[in-house]
């Protein structure tokens, strides 16, 4: 069974989330404060973390950073503020996606499914090359200069999406659709922040990216 860790200080919301998620067939772990996340995380090993930004004790952004130091588990933030600052802080701390309260529960489930799905691998082309980065679709890993670089599943999906069609210019909307499972969305922050994070991991010079190139006014494409 897939285990989802729900971190929220609001007991009622946490319980409601538990009801909805259990109803969709997930196993749920309820945590009510930031301080308890790390000890539980190590013993329970959840498949996904649903994390409220505003938490007593360690706040959501801090928790996010702490988890990212140890694991590439998908993290979806819950935020009451649609404000840029909160969202960007969360994404920069390593969250893969975020939901602004009040959200539609069906949409939440849909997002979680996207984050939990295994990227369909192409058996014929097990390995893809983009710049000096080797993408192993079977092992779900990437290798640069004989070193394995740890990527979150989302970052892997993002890189793979670009690498599968080298030279094609992906609009941010297309990437949102393909990688995040959003339809008709214009949330460019999500794409921009993750491209930045990915570049920081694989590019030699972040200010002069060669592997993931920006096409001004349109989006991104994979470099040769």
């Amino acid at each position: 069974m897939t285990l989802i860790m729900v971190v929220d200080d609001d007991q009622d919301l946490a319980e409601m989330l538990g009801i909805v998620l259990t109803g969709s067939g997930y196993e749920v772990d309820l945590v009510s404060s930031g301080d308890q996340v790390m000890p539980l995380f190590e013993t329970h090993e959840p498949d996904l973390i649903l994390l409220d930004v505003m938490l007593p004790g360690l706040d959501g952004v801090e928790v996010c950073k702490a988890i990212r130091e140890k694991s590439m588990v998908p993290i979806v933030m819950l935020t009451a503020k649609g404000d840029t600052q909160d969202v960007v802080l969360g994404l920069e701390a390593g969250a893969d996606d975020y939901m602004v309260k009040p959200f539609n529960p069906n949409e939440l489930i849909a997002r979680l499914k996207v984050r939990l799905r295994r990227t369909s691998t192409n058996a014929e082309a097990k390995q893809l090359r983009i710049g000096d980065v080797l993408i192993d679709q079977v092992a779900h890993s990437i290798v640069k200069k004989d070193k394995v670089i740890p990527l979150t599943r989302l970052e892997f999906d993002l890189l793979l999406a670009l690498a599968r069609e080298p030279g094609r210019v992906f609009t941010r909307e297309a990437l949102l659709d393909e990688v995040w499972g959003y339809q008709n969305a214009t949330d460019t922050r999500l794409v921009n922040v993750h491209v930045q994070r990915l570049r920081a991991k694989i590019e030699a010079d972040v200010n002069n990216p060669l592997i993931i190139q920006t096409v001004r006014g349109v989006g991104y494409k994979a470099g040769a």
Partner: protein, 524 residues
């Protein structure tokens, strides 16, 4: 010239000094000329009087000499005349003079036997007007005239003349000519002295006024500079206070004003911060329970087959009203963010064409007329906040659909190098001028009976206008009852550049003009 008029308008110092200069030049030249006239009149009067007196005695003496030829045999008229007619230099008792002796013509017959002159003055240089006066009088006559010498040069002189008897000869006229060269030398000295004093005085007064005005203008300039700095946001700037005069008082009150302004501003800043905090707190506090409510209602709604009909219908209403409440909450929070100036523009390069097309696809009414689009070829890239621009477009298009009465809707995009305009035109019920004035007011609805077709919050246009302004763009509306309406959004392609051209006029009956009339929102 332009430079001067500009200086005149912009610099108090320049204005005061140039006025002082002009006035002092006028005053000093008036005094100078008056002085000059007084002096020259005095000098010439003195010289004339002296000359006349001197000539009188000389003429008398000459006459006596001539008469004496009659009884002193050895004296010959010719010699006496030669003695009379000769130049004299300055002596202690007399001035330098020349003499001319002219015969008076008798019945047009020439009488020039003893005509003679001294000092290179031709006999003809005696002015005829004076000659006429002398001929018809026994008294001494004089005039001031220009004497022409035989070598062609001329000089101002006083000419004194009288009839004289030469024994056994017809009448002669004897003229004494006193050249005024000495007086002219004195006068030219006076003139140069006057010029010197005049120029010196003008410069001195100019300098003085510059100094005096500077003392007043400098503190004013300093105040202006500091006021500019304050305006630019450098609120800690203060004026220097020196002494206890009026300028010091100006500085003190200026500084007091700055302090009170700073306090007001920081108070308002505090209020704005509090407001932002409040908005953000309300946001969090309201959203968390709303999330729970929404999820709960979804669970109930999903299981409504198991409920009886009234409970099922209640579940439906609960769902739709929660959705409406949510929209309202979102819009309210957005509005209060604008009010607290807490809205941030998150610009990134966006293809406006793609953005508008996407919005149309989302809103395209399934039944009824289609939305037509009139877009330029190629991409229309502008650096805007896509979330906000999409929200504006969604509001405008949804609005047009609501009021179009199934008539077509036309969306036009036009762009220039610096800006892009999107017009949404419908041919529906339109609105009146008085309605147009209130269009962008919060919660205002043109027609309450038809307002809730789409469940709009009544804040859409108000937020759209704020979004446009945040981009330093414009949002104008035009409407005419039963002829439809047009909303035109214009935003700069790069943030921070004000709109220069009206690419699409709000009134569709007008063609685009390059001269953009900027009018404020009250005119909308």
């Amino acid at each position: 010239m332009n430079f001067l008029t500009n200086r005149w308008r912009t610099s108090l110092l320049f204005r005061v000094i140039s006025t002082t200069f002009i006035l002092s030049i006028l005053l000093i030249s008036a005094t100078g000329s008056a002085l000059y006239f007084q002096i020259s009149n005095g000098i010439y009067k003195e010289k004339t009087n002296g000359s006349v007196v001197e000539a009188q005695s000389l003429i008398q003496y000459s006459q006596e000499q001539l008469y004496s030829t009659e009884y002193i045999a050895k004296l010959k008229v010719k010699d006496v005349i030669a003695n009379i007619v000769r130049s004299t230099d300055q002596t202690l008792t007399s001035s330098p003079r020349d003499v001319v002796l002219v015969g008076v013509p008798i019945k047009n017959k020439k009488n020039s036997l003893y005509n003679s002159s001294s000092g290179g003055i031709p006999v003809s240089s005696i002015p005829t007007s004076l000659q006429k006066k002398v001929e018809h009088s026994t008294k001494i006559k004089w005039s001031r005239d220009l004497i022409t010498f035989t070598d062609g040069s001329a000089s101002d002189a006083i000419i004194v003349g009288s009839l004289i008897d030469i024994p056994n000869q017809p009448s002669y006229e004897l003229y004494y000519i006193f050249l005024l060269s000495e007086q002219e030398t004195i006068l030219s000295l006076v003139v140069s002295l006057l010029w010197f004093t005049g120029i010196f005085l003008v410069l001195f007064i100019g300098l003085l006024s510059w100094y005096v005005v500077r003392q007043t203008v400098n503190p004013v300039r300093a105040a202006a500079q500091i006021a500019e700095k304050l305006t630019a946001g450098d609120l800690d700037r203060r004026m220097m206070v020196r002494g206890k005069d009026e300028m010091a008082r100006l500085a003190i009150s200026f500084n007091e004003m700055a302090v009170s302004m700073q306090q007001q501003i920081s108070r308002l800043e505090n209020l704005s911060r509090l407001q932002q905090r409040f908005v953000s707190d309300v946001s969090h506090e309201l959203r968390t329970p709303l999330t729970t409510i929404r999820m709960a209602s979804q669970v109930i709604f999903d299981g409504k087959e198991q409920l009886d009909s009234s409970a099922a219908r209640s579940a439906e209403l609960l769902m739709s009203q929660i959705a409406r409440f949510e929209l309202l909450l979102t819009d309210l929070l957005e509005v209060s963010r604008f009010d607290a100036s807490a809205s941030i523009l998150e610009s990134s390069p966006v293809d406006i064409k793609a953005l508008v097309s996407r919005t149309i696809d989302q809103l395209q009414p399934e039944n009824g007329k289609k939305i037509k689009s009139d877009f330029p070829e190629g991409e229309v890239i502008a650096e805007v906040d896509p979330r906000r621009i999409e929200r504006v477009m969604r509001n405008l298009i949804a609005n047009a659909i609501d009021h179009s009465e199934d008539k077509p809707i036309v969306i036009t995009i036009k762009d220039s190098d610096t800006e892009v305009a999107v017009a949404v035109r419908d041919y529906g019920i339109g609105f009146t001028e008085s309605e147009a004035k209130r269009l962008f007011d919060r919660f205002w609805r043109a027609d309450p009976s038809r307002s809730r077709i789409r469940g709009g919050t009544g804040l859409g246009l108000a937020i759209s206008l704020d979004d446009a302004k945040l981009h330093q763009g414009t949002l104008f509306a035009w409407g005419s009852p039963n002829n439809g309406a047009q909303f035109v959004l214009t935003v700069p392609k790069l943030p921070g550049i004000p709109i220069q051209n009206e690419l699409i006029p709000a009134n569709p009956n007008l063609t685009a003009s390059t001269n953009f009339l900027s009018f404020n929102e009250d005119d909308i």
